[in-house]
Symmetry: C2
Subunit: 125 residues, 2 copies
């Protein structure tokens, strides 16, 4: 049995691996000034309840900062990546890149059996 940590799979930090949280983190990466709750909801195609739940998990893990303020007498929630969140998300993406590379590299052997679709095509089912 290999040691834990030998494998890139061990480095896939669970908190970011869930597809909706991956989507949230990715959207926040692109937004230097953060995103409002409504923008994130739209960007990630999530319901209020789902987005709230994921934000709580990410905030508790110190990956994001959630700021509530009144703007023109209306409450506004702004979500930003924390510095810690950026660093850890980049590490997660590096690990994901390695895992993907490993899986792709293992495909050529399989290819010779002629049983597969071309890899690299976009999934458009």
């Amino acid at each position: 049995m290999k040691n834990k940590g030998d494998s890139p799979y061990d480095a896939l930090e669970k908190i970011f691996h869930e597809p909706n949280r991956l989507s949230i983190m990715s959207a926040l990466c692109a937004a230097d000034n953060g995103l409002s709750f409504g923008q994130l909801k739209e960007e990630c195609s999530l319901t209020d309840g789902n987005l709230s739940r994921h934000l709580k998990v990410l905030e508790k893990a110190d990956a994001i900062q959630v700021e509530k303020a009144f703007v023109d007498s209306k409450p506004r929630t702004t979500v930003r990546l924390s510095k810690n969140g950026i660093t850890r998300f980049e590490e997660y993406l590096s690990a994901l890149n390695e895992v993907l590379k490993k899986a792709k590299d293992s495909m050529p052997a399989r290819k010779r059996s002629g049983a597969t679709l071309p890899l690299g095509k976009t999934a458009t089912a």
Copy 2:
């Protein structure tokens, strides 16, 4: 709200996204003639119980074929990808590739704030 299916995150088939199952599928991809239970266990650094559990999930989803036979009077379990499993795993990898690309592409804006590590470096914590 966007339609379901617009986003590459929706295409991340849950069954393959779990890191240990990703590891199992990737190992099986590289093995034209399948792998024994012991080889998979070693390759993926899993316990008997964990490997059994993940194989049951993958078999039930028709992603793999599990064959039990006696070789030299000893029981041997051989695990192979099914044709369906190969196709779906390739679609999963394509979706993952798209998600990763999207996340990486969103990094440059963030970079300008000077708060990050270089992306693309291997996670070596």
